[in-house]
Point group: C2
Chain length 247, copies 2
Amino acid sequence: MRRFLKKISKNSRSNEDGIFFEKITNILGFKPNNIYYYKKAFTHSSINKVDDKGNPFNYERLEFLGDSMLGSVISAHLYNEVPTGDEGYLTKMRSKIVSREHLNELGRDLNLIQFVESKVNPQHFGENIHGNIFEALIGAIYLDKGFKHCESFIQKKVIKPYVDIPKLEGKVISYKSLIIEWCQKEKKPFQFETFEDTGNEEQKYFGVKLHIDNKIVTKARATSKKKAEEKAAQRAYFVFQDQIVKK
Amino acid sequence: MRRFLKKISKNSRSNEDGIFFEKITNILGFKPNNIYYYKKAFTHSSINKVDDKGNPFNYERLEFLGDSMLGSVISAHLYNEVPTGDEGYLTKMRSKIVSREHLNELGRDLNLIQFVESKVNPQHFGENIHGNIFEALIGAIYLDKGFKHCESFIQKKVIKPYVDIPKLEGKVISYKSLIIEWCQKEKKPFQFETFEDTGNEEQKYFGVKLHIDNKIVTKARATSKKKAEEKAAQRAYFVFQDQIVKK
């Protein structure tokens, strides 16, 4: 009977692991070599877990490591992307990108908190839990796959969708004007096609399709025409970022 | 005549480059792929050099990059070497290792200042010039060869000869007792063979040969027997560091 229970619990354990493996693979965009690091990245110190050597098994040390790796990858990115920026500029921009607020946003958007094992509901740990486990995840990727891989993950999940240099510099106020200016400079035809898009909601909504080069490049929806256009333009900015920044 | 002068200056330029390449290869322990980065790492802003795009050509941005990379490599080293240390411990140890004082010592020991191109004598820039160009050199290695290579350089030039965890923790007071304890634990025969070694000097000197496992592993010379023994023991500690730390 005991053996039977043990077998059941072992099976349910590996089912759980299987689900975790699948979900984390989805978020990472690659298959982990060693799931151990990722388990650690989502274990909170409150459950007092230890590894087989008796050392604490939780994400705190991984957070330290991930913070360092993230800083290096962002430094190298800024060094290459902004050849005119001096070391004061680079330091300031890096601290904006890796700000607590920004990291919390990243962790929250990836919904990392769903994986956290802790004594109490992880939602009670406050906002910083999101950023902390995001950093721990980067530490885990570094240990599991090495620096290059860690760098591509940060490129894909941090830099591409979030690092908006002109906005961080406080230079871009309106993405709509930026996109218009760029289209005019590049002689690309463009059109903000707006329409009412309220549907069943009480609140009025507007939709925008942004056409560039006679193709719909982005869509957006908001409570005013102006807001929807700005949203669509910002999305277009992210699509064409490489081309726009180089100008 | 003008063409002739140009030719001479071009030749002497490439001779200069050849000497620089040879010297820097010696310090690095590998051949650079692109000497450009290393030239930049030793160019001071006082000479107002610019690159072919008109951007400042000096080490300041490389220093920013190297500082980041050094931090990451040290973080990963500490993470792996001290599995019992929490994030507070890791942060404190890292800042001890990458302290301004320590980096200046490293740069000075490698005699990097010999390469600095500046308007005035680089010795006038104060102590920090040594650490700054050491960091810039690390930035150059990263750009030239990538992270893995940068990591091995730091392993060889920083961690192996300088990172002495027990000493940084303030735990080791006497290397002699440490070595004796370790030899006893490992059942290795050892002997501190001391002798007067004054030679032609006025001051009395003592020499020590430290035998472990019936081989001379280190030698030292100092103004007292005690000092010479401590020096020899410290050197032995660096030789056997990996084995001793794991105990």
